[in-house]
Each structure stands twice: as structure tokens, then as C-alpha cells.
């Protein structure tokens, strides 16, 4: 089996937001909609302060609460773990948005553009199917599927890899098959200490945060 997995190395992320920009460009999301965000978080009190840049977005949970609550089955989970939304089924009730513990879902009720009027690019790429429905990160599922059809390897070949991972300047983001012990993400997880966000909720995200090297005994 394949389980597409993303890792974010918190030691490497510099908060440049290139992944955010890349995602917005690749997926033509409107202003204010960031399927891939990077949080700038500060911890502690002066003088003992730490800062962390934290990429967030849909965690493609193994047990996604957004899918369970969806009254229309618009939210689905593929065999490879990617959680998708069928825009033609979604009624825009936002139930998934309040069920998601990661604030990963967006609903836009009307088209709006960066500078008022739609630019040529925005007009060309506007998708009215996305108005009034829930949207979120898809792990760039179209790129993955198209890449696989060409015999490419997601996470290794850029053409088959999510745009945010391709764009990451510090290799903080990685993508691959978590079920393949030889994959890049499996190797990273094996050699690093990691956690998943809000693990206590039992959603089993497919998104891991690396925070230190694995301790050797």
C-alpha cells in the first residue's frame, strides 16, 4: 500500500513563506485562502525565548473528522491516504471546517481578487466550482496522479511532487510514501524525533513535524 506523507523539519524551516506562495500559484487560491501556511510562533519569556516557523494545512488524517461529519460524502479519503473534496457534491455547510482541528478548510462565498478587478491570470484560472464550497490542501493530488501515470516518483521527481515541497528553499518540507521504508520521508522519520499535531485527538495525521535527531543509545 501507499500512504502519502509529508514531513516538516522545524529545525530547517526559516519562515520564508515560499511554500505558501508556491501553493497559491499552483492552486490558484484567492486572497486570504492559504492551503499551505507557515505560522511564526514565539515561545517563552525574555530572555529565554524561542521562535519556530510551523508549516500547517490539511494534515490528511488517517481518521479525518471532516470526512466523518460530511453529510454529502463530498469529503473522501483515497486508498493512498489523501483526503479530497468533491466540489460538485459539497453544499458548503462548513461542518467539516468546524470539525477540523487544524483550521485547514476555507469557504469563499464570492469571487474576489488581489487588486479588485481580476487580472488576466486570475480570470483565466478562476474556478467557479470552488465558490460556496469547502476547499483545502490536496497534496497537489493532480500532480501526483499525473506524475504516477508517467512513471514518476512523488517526493523524488518534482513534476510529481506537491508544489510547496518543490518550492521549499531549505528542504524543510519532504513528501513521499510513508509505507515504503526506503522512501525519503520514512528515512527522515527513522533518523529524527517527530510528532504529529494534536495527536491526542486520534486523527492520525499524515503530516509529521521533525524536531530533533533520533537519540542513539
Amino acid at each position: 500500500m501507499t500512504r502519502w506523507t509529508m514531513t516538516a523539519d522545524l529545525r530547517r524551516c526559516v519562515g520564508c513563506q515560499t511554500c505558501t506562495a508556491s501553493c497559491r500559484h499552483a492552486n490558484a487560491t484567492p486572497p486570504g485562502v492559504q492551503w499551505r501556511r507557515v505560522l511564526d510562533m514565539e515561545f517563552g519569556e525574555y530572555p529565554d525565548v524561542q521562535r519556530a516557523f510551523v508549516p500547517v494545512g490539511c494534515q490528511h488524517c488517517a481518521d479525518p473528522p471532516c470526512m466523518t461529519v460530511c453529510p454529502t460524502t463530498a469529503t473522501k479519503q483515497r486508498a493512498d491516504g489523501i483526503v479530497t473534496i468533491d466540489y460538485d457534491l459539497c453544499i458548503g455547510c462548513s461542518y467539516c471546517a468546524v470539525a477540523c482541528p487544524y483550521q485547514a478548510r476555507y469557504k469563499v462565498d464570492a469571487a474576489h481578487y488581489a487588486y479588485g478587478e481580476a487580472s488576466e491570470s486570475e480570470a483565466l484560472r478562476h474556478d467557479k466550482a470552488r465558490i460556496g464550497v469547502a476547499t483545502k490542501c490536496t497534496f497537489c493530488v493532480d500532480r501526483i496522479d499525473a506524475g504516477l501515470a508517467k512513471g514518476l516518483k512523488p517526493g523524488v521527481d518534482p513534476e510529481a511532487t506537491p508544489a510547496c515541497v518543490n518550492a521549499c528553499i531549505s528542504l524543510a518540507l519532504a513528501f513521499g510514501d510513508g509505507d515504503d521504508p526506503q522512501s525519503n520521508v520514512s528515512q527522515l522519520l527513522a533518523e529524527s524525533q517527530h510528532f504529529r499535531m494534536h495527536e491526542e485527538l486520534g486523527t492520525a495525521p499524515g503530516f509529521f513535524y521533525l524536531w530533533d535527531k533520533e537519540e542513539r543509545t
Binding site: R11, T73, A99
Partner: protein
Amino acid sequence: MSYGPNPWQQTNWDWRAAGNFVCGGAGGGLIVFAALSGAQGLALAVLLLGGMALVGTGLLCVWLELGRPLRALHVFINPRTSWMTREAFAATLLMPVALAAAASLLPGLQWLAAALALAFVYCQSRMLQAAKGIPAWREPLAVPLMVLTGLAEGGGLCLAARAADDSGQLLVTLAGAVVLARAAVWFAYRRRVAMSVAPRALAAIDSAGRVLQFAGSLLPLALLALAASGVLGAAPALVVVAGLLAAATGAWFKYTLVTRAGFNQGFALARLPVRGVRRS
């Protein structure tokens, strides 16, 4: 150890979603109490139609919330896991049965309507609790609290509507018991969420909870006791006020729970990144 920016109030569900919980719960509760009250004929019909109107208003509210309202029928697709779908099915069954009961088509039909209304209120409660992203909602005690709040609202409205009826002593006892149970469950709920919800969410729960406990529980129960004792005159008026207080404060609490206590849990890091020298 947990870190992260402060949680914030969700904005995906606003007064329209709250309207569904407020009106739907009260309407369902009213239909349940219509059957329990023993009302017959026109009195029963008025209570059932009032409950149906409230449930319908709630569903209208949630329909207004939809981004794609013309696809509303898609809500019926996922009864396997979605409590929203189950709520829709319960409402769809409830409406014709309650209407038939109001028209007295078959004797005892109001009991079937009451069972469906109870199922509807239960589905609503589970719907809220299934929203895992909101700590104040996902608490398991939110289910009995929402069910009892709906029943207390319905009981209160039923009391107000039937205050002048001498045969309502059983109704007064039942409604009083539900109000008392709601008060007890609220205390348990409050204790459970105290450690898990954001401070501002807890403040909202406390604020609406104080109103619920004093104006919605203590005062109505005192008024009902006074009315039953006959110490004061105008017992029906006291019962009307008690019923309306129980209903209005329940509605305010549910509105607050959805629109003011619906804080998410923000983002949290279980560990901070280790860069350079390891911190002790």
C-alpha cells in the same frame, strides 16, 4: 508541554447555525412535551404545529448558512457517519408524522411524533459534539446538555401555553424535573470543560451559564413551587413566566455556545525544534 498561538472563535458557523440549534431544540422539545402533556384536540394541534414551526425555522436558518443552498438535498447522502444527515432524516420523518398527529388522523400518533422529535434533538446534540475542532462542543457531556436544554425549552414553552389548564400538574412536574436535570448536567459540563477550553470560551460559558442557572433554573423552579403551593394568587401567570424563562435562557445558552464559546484549540507544538546546542 504544549505551545501555540491563542485559540480563536470559529467563524464558520454564525447565528444561522445557532438558530438551528436554538429553534430546532426548542421545537423538538415542544413536540415531546405536547405528547407528555396529555393535550388533545385543538390544544394538541397548536402545540404540535408550534413545535413544527420552530423546527422548520431552525432548518431554514441552517439552509441560509449553506454556500450552495440549491444542493441542499445532498444533505441526505451520508447517513452512515454524519449526524447532520441523520438530523435531516429525523426532521423529514418528524414533519409529516407531527402534521398527521396535529390533524388527529390516528389516535396516539403524537407519541410517534414525540419519539421522532426526541431523535431529532439527539441528532442535533451529536452533531455539535462531532465537531472535533471545537473543545467546548466535542466534550461528551455536551450531548446530554443539549438534549436537556432542548427539552427544557420545549417544556417551558408547553408550560407557558398550557398554564391555565388544571390538568397540567404532571406537565409542571416533568418540566421542573427536566430543568433540574439541565442545571445538574450544566455543572458537570462546566467542570469538564474548565481545563480544555480557551479562557474566553469559558468566560462565555460561565456568563450564559449564570443566566441559565439563576434565571433559567432557580427562578422558574421557585415560581413553579409558589404556583403549586397556592401561597400567591395568579398561579397561571407564575407558570407562564417560569416556562418562558426556562425556554429563553436555554436558547441564549445555546446561542452563546455556538457563536461565543466556539473557540478552536489553536495550534500546538508538542516539542520545540532543537537547533545547535540542546536546551536542558
